[in-house]
Symmetry: C2
Subunit: 353 residues, 2 copies
């Protein structure tokens, strides 16, 4: 199946949804260039979700993707959260922050009927999920307007689980990928597999199209993904320096420095493992920490510290999400990058194969 | 540069040297098929090295590779070794073994002048190293008979280090690979990168040919490696079931069972991180253990336990080395596999590009 048959796009490029570092502008640029632009929705309020979708649909008439998390919200554990704040206390002291002022809050909400209400006003053609799938009644609402449903698998078992629940395509997320691991059937990091090993095994295990993600940063990477049997490549990190991304100054500075060559999986920023550039927080409290509150409750405690450090030009307490291959990051228009990524792939718009 | 120009081989396939599971027979089969067969020499006595090389050179007139480790032998630390044996004691009790009978010994010797003496009788056309490079006088002896020198890099820094010391090609060993990580400039496992991310970054960083390793198990994987800029692919795991391999019965059984889908990097078998199928030893004492004696001193303490368990048909205490993609393992002749791996690559013998 071609990317055109699957999503109606001409180029086999999916811009990875990246909460916190991009909104509709990047998605519009990529969709207009012939790839599939993605709007990360996990951190958006319903009002912002609606306004972003209005902007997105006004900005492109091409297909686009909206992405949601579908974790089970954890029960708040005040004891654990207090212990975590105690661990962070030395930093609050260092930065002159009042830890008691920290807000309690989730920061990332799972896909909900309220969100589906907003989506139904726009009927996005592609809806992708991270951390599995939402409940079947919610999924049914998305399918009702004909959206293609996509989710990430980090293992063969997860791919089979998703196929059995009727997704239209699977993103095989290799361990190189930046940001949150989509893992949902296990929390054992040793189950996480490199892209070159994962993609062909999932391609062989399922009968639906597979999208390769993780470590892909240029046309050679896209060609390799296609050689492994993927119908398209999902690329995130390489878009982080684009003017259309909202990547923070400290994040951009880190991506263009040598420290970007060293990433690790860490749970200290959100409570779930995600790949980011190794910084002070990860070195001193991680990269994996057994005391961190459950996802996404870890986020709130760090927010004031992160803001204070960023104001001083330091990314020491910020999640500097990045994959294991930052060599494709360039401060050029996302459309230019999208065409570069597809340089070894013929434009399939209107073609089938 | 083509594999023919580099090594005189027609197919872009290098059989990974795998100590303990293969000898000259597998190397002969692969070299005669047009790939580059490899003889792992790290565990061989000088007498066995000589006899294996005699067998190998009698069995093929095509190019072949000999592989050596070049670690710095550790100073024995009796206290640490005793503590490790104490950790293993519960297993000795379970299996009725006398822990005091355990031999003290290295098991794996680094490349030496004595080994170079033996090699000089055969002048192998390719010599590859793991864990960096030997001292320059030793390297000079190998170069003197015109051997191509190859070593593994697991990071861009290691690739640059090797290029600066004049190697003829670099094996980019992605994190998917089975067996020992070739890492030598850092012992931080978070520096280890997936093949799809590593290969293009090393290709860009150096001017010498790059060989991709890790997670490659079929012609699609080889095509992906070539798309990423590699001149050839090094494949190990997929050869483990070949009749020419000496893979143990418990290892073969593990490779053909579902447990082979879950591997991890572990140091419990030798003292250095290596990828193997997760088994009882790794689950109960690892996968990484801070008390393990320095490489290769950890090996001896486990030998009687491993032998006793294997005699009972259990691989619970055996290093079941395997990469993250065992889908290519087949009990067919290595020549057949080699041709399958190269099915999407034209035979370059006699051609240059």
């Amino acid at each position: 199946m071609s990317p055109f048959e699957l999503f109606g796009i001409g180029l086999p490029i999916i811009q990875a949804p990246m909460a916190g570092v991009q909104g509709s502008a990047l998605a519009i640029a990529v969709s207009n260039a012939g790839g599939l632009g993605s709007l990360p929705c996990a951190t958006l309020s319903l009002d912002v979700l609606r306004s972003e979708l209005a902007t997105l649909t006004a900005g492109t008439s091409n297909p686009y993707n909206v992405n949601f998390f579908c974790h089970t919200p954890p029960r708040s554990d005040p004891g654990r959260e207090a212990a975590w704040r105690q661990l962070l206390r030395r930093y609050d002291d260092e930065f002159g922050l009042d830890a008691s002022a920290v807000a309690v809050g989730a920061g990332r909400a799972p896909f909900s009927h309220d969100a589906a209400d907003v989506l139904s006003e726009f009927t996005p053609p592609v809806v992708s999920f991270h951390f599995g799938l939402p409940a079947s009644d919610l999924l049914q609402r998305v399918r009702a307007w004909g959206a293609k449903v996509v989710s990430s698998a980090t293992t063969v078992d997860e791919a089979r689980w998703l196929e059995a629940r009727g997704v239209d395509a699977i993103i095989a997320q290799g361990c190189e990928a930046g940001g949150h691991r989509g893992m949902f059937l296990s929390d054992d990091l040793t189950t996480q597999v490199g892209t070159l090993a994962l993609v062909p095994q999932i391609v062989r295990a399922v009968r639906i199209p597979v999208i390769a993600a993780g470590g892909i940063a240029d046309a050679a990477g896209v060609a390799a993904a296609v050689a492994l049997g993927a119908v398209a490549a999902q690329i995130g990190t390489a878009y982080l320096l684009c003017p259309e991304a909202t990547t923070s100054a400290v994040h951009r500075a880190a991506l263009t420095s040598d420290i970007a060559r060293h990433t690790a999986l860490t749970n200290v920023f959100t409570g779930r493992p995600a790949r980011g550039i190794v910084n002070r927080m990860m070195r001193e409290l991680g990269p994996m920490n057994g005391s961190v509150p459950a996802f996404p409750l870890a986020t709130a405690a760090l927010a004031p510290l992160r803001a204070r450090a960023e104001a001083q030009g330091a990314g020491d307490f910020s999640p500097l999400w990045a994959g294991q291959n930052v060599s494709g990051c360039k401060n050029v228009a996302a459309a230019v990058l999208t065409h570069e990524f597809a340089a070894r792939s013929p434009d399939r718009a209107g073609l089938s194969r």
